[in-house]
């Protein structure tokens, strides 16, 4: 008995260590360029005019910086640096930079650089499409979001109470360069903002309020790295949906003409916790009026038209509280968790569905190539938004597929091509695994395009294996049947 207890303790310690390692994946996965520890961005630019827009309408802060930059160096420059604190660096997601004047142009190459892991200031480096000539100007549009940056205050509320969130930022937009003129706009979900910081300076008293929009500034010349802390507390009685891990499998079947999707969610609600026990009677009596709540009641998946055979299961088994509306115009999967998911509660579940392959796969004219176009993310579309801390997307191609290439506009941290062994496989199917971290639901409609070669012989591998087995059985039957096992002597 004692041995059992010791064994259980050792096992729990080992599993804790393993889980801790898994939970820390966020940092090591981010690919970074290492710079010398003395690094400091050269003052090659100045920000002529900057507008910083902070959007708090969803359950995560989405920031946009529109800035007119001017090259003040004597030579052409193409490297622009954006500073972040190390805390922001760990939770920032989906940083994209493009030329504001040329919205059809591509995204600029942007990546995190690391020079001193101990430093609190880290940088993202943006490489301009073309070097900017001296004294020339360019307008950049920089967008990004932060995960886990909003905190409920108070931390515990009643089941029917209003929730308030706190967000801290700087009234001066963090920049590695001198900024001549700037303002910061904050968009709230409603006009109910009981607490906010008042900033001295600027043209008038900051913030100026216009409905649910607050404006800090405009401010005059501000040196590089200037920081003016601002804290706002606003009403947001909606859930803070946080997916700590999403595993999404897409399985291609040429024989079946089918594309199978399966998504496994580890879902959390980061909203304020309940002050006391959940009251089912109070909950049920209020549902008729549909009051605003911090609980996750329903998740809506707008799938591609033509999706079929959906399922929704959790650790117990099938969950019957789901609806699938499918017709010529839409295919909506609406699922209700087994219980309302309040702040601090978790709900792991899985959903899956099939689709006809012909809408997603095309044959290339040359050789035996195929091109597959699938959505990178097809998670729930919620008005309050949701965030994904870790996404592992696996595209399982047919057995024998070779020469796999892919492209997507979603920022990735790792890629891997491996073998996935399942029913009736001999060598295993080619699986492309892509990992992304800190992704918000704005990336929902991004496409993933995969090309691969699938030779005819590889396609015929499965029936050939069965054929060989059965034919071998016939030969064995004949061979064994013709052995003379009689006991009478030869005549």
């Amino acid at each position: 008995m004692r041995l059992l207890a010791v064994g259980a303790a050792v096992f729990s310690f080992a599993s804790t260590a393993l889980c801790a390692e898994k939970g820390n994946l966020t940092k090591p996965l981010a690919s970074r360029l290492i710079l010398p520890s003395t690094f400091k961005p050269a003052q090659n630019f100045k920000n002529v005019n900057l507008v910083h827009i902070i959007n708090l309408e969803k359950s995560y802060p989405k920031e946009q910086i529109n800035v007119v930059i001017e090259n003040i160096a004597s030579t052409s420059q193409d490297e622009y640096f954006i500073p972040f604190t190390s805390q922001q660096m760990a939770t920032i997601g989906g940083l994209e930079v493009k030329d504001k004047k040329n919205p059809d142009g591509g995204l600029f190459e942007a990546g995190a650089v690391e020079f001193d892991p101990e430093s609190d200031t880290q940088f993202y480096r943006v490489r301009l499409e073309q070097p900017l000539a001296p004294k020339a100007q360019q307008t950049l549009g920089i967008t990004f979001s932060y995960l886990s940056a909003l905190h409920p205050l108070p931390k515990n509320i009643g089941q029917q109470e209003t929730q308030f969130l706190v967000y801290e930022f700087s009234a001066y937009c963090p920049s590695a360069y001198v900024t001549l003129k700037q303002k910061t706009e904050v968009k709230f979900p409603s006009g109910n903002v009981p607490e906010y910081t008042i900033v001295a300076g600027g043209d008038a008293e900051s913030p100026q309020k216009a409905g649910s929009k607050f404006t800090y500034g405009s401010f005059g010349e501000v040196p590089a790295g200037a920081f003016e802390p601002v804290k706002v507390r606003y009403e947001f009685t909606k859930p803070l949906i946080h997916v700590s891990r999403l595993e999404r499998d897409i399985e291609v079947s040429h024989w079946g003409g089918n594309l199978a999707f399966e998504e496994r969610y580890t879902l959390h609600n980061h909203a304020a916790n309940l002050t006391k026990q959940f009251d089912r009677v109070q909950w049920a009596s209020q549902q008729y009026y549909n009051p605003p709540s911090t609980a996750i009641k329903e998740l809506k998946f707008p799938l591609k038209v033509g999706s079929l055979d959906p399922y929704f299961t959790d650790v117990i088994g099938n969950v019957s509280t789901s609806r699938f509306r499918s017709n010529k115009r839409e295919a909506n999967l609406e699922i209700k968790p087994r219980y309302p998911v309040f702040g601090g509660w978790n709900y792991p579940f899985r959903v899956g569905w099939n689709a006809d392959l012909k809408k997603f796969l095309r044959k290339l004219k040359t050789g035996q190539g195929y091109v597959l176009n699938v959505p990178f993310l097809e998670g729930p579309k919620q008005s309050e938004g949701m965030v994904y801390e870790h996404i592992e997307l696996r595209v399982i191609l047919p057995e024998g597929a070779v020469n796999v290439k892919y492209s997507t506009t979603v920022p990735l941290v790792s890629e891997e091509i491996s073998l996935h062994r399942t029913f009736m496989d001999t060598t295993g199917r080619t699986a492309l695994t892509l990992t992304a971290i800190n992704i918000v639901d704005d990336f929902r409609d991004r496409e993933l395009i995969v090309t691969y070669d699938y030779p005819l012989l590889a396609g015929l591998r499965k029936p050939l294996v069965i054929f060989a087995t059965i034919f071998g059985l016939f030969v064995a039957t004949w061979a064994i049947g013709s052995i003379d096992v009689g006991i009478k002597g030869k005549k």
């Binding site: 024989w255 012909k358 997507t408 506009t409 090309t451 034919f471 030969v475 039957t477 004949w478």
Partner: protein, 79 residues
């Protein structure tokens, strides 16, 4: 905003992948082929000879091989 292989996808428009056998006919074909394979196997059992391995065993094996593939697809395990 387009990914680099977007052009490849666009250039293949009109060449949508069409499976050899549609989802609706998989069960019928799989069932028929498996039945034929089973009957041929029975026939082989009545007269096991080296000639019948080629004459009956070969088509029976082929029928069972393709029948099994389509039957597995028809029941929802898309191999």
């Amino acid at each position: 905003m387009e990914s680099s292989l977007h052009q490849v996808w666009e250039s293949a428009v009109g060449d949508a992948f069409v499976p050899t056998v549609g989802k609706g006919s998989q069960f019928l074909l799989g069932f028929t082929l498996l039945t034929v394979g089973l009957l041929l196997s029975g026939l082989f059992g009545l007269n096991r000879s080296i000639i019948n391995i080629g004459a009956i065993g070969l088509p029976a094996s082929l029928a069972i091989a393709f029948g099994a593939i389509y039957m597995i697809c028809a029941v929802g395990v898309y191999v």
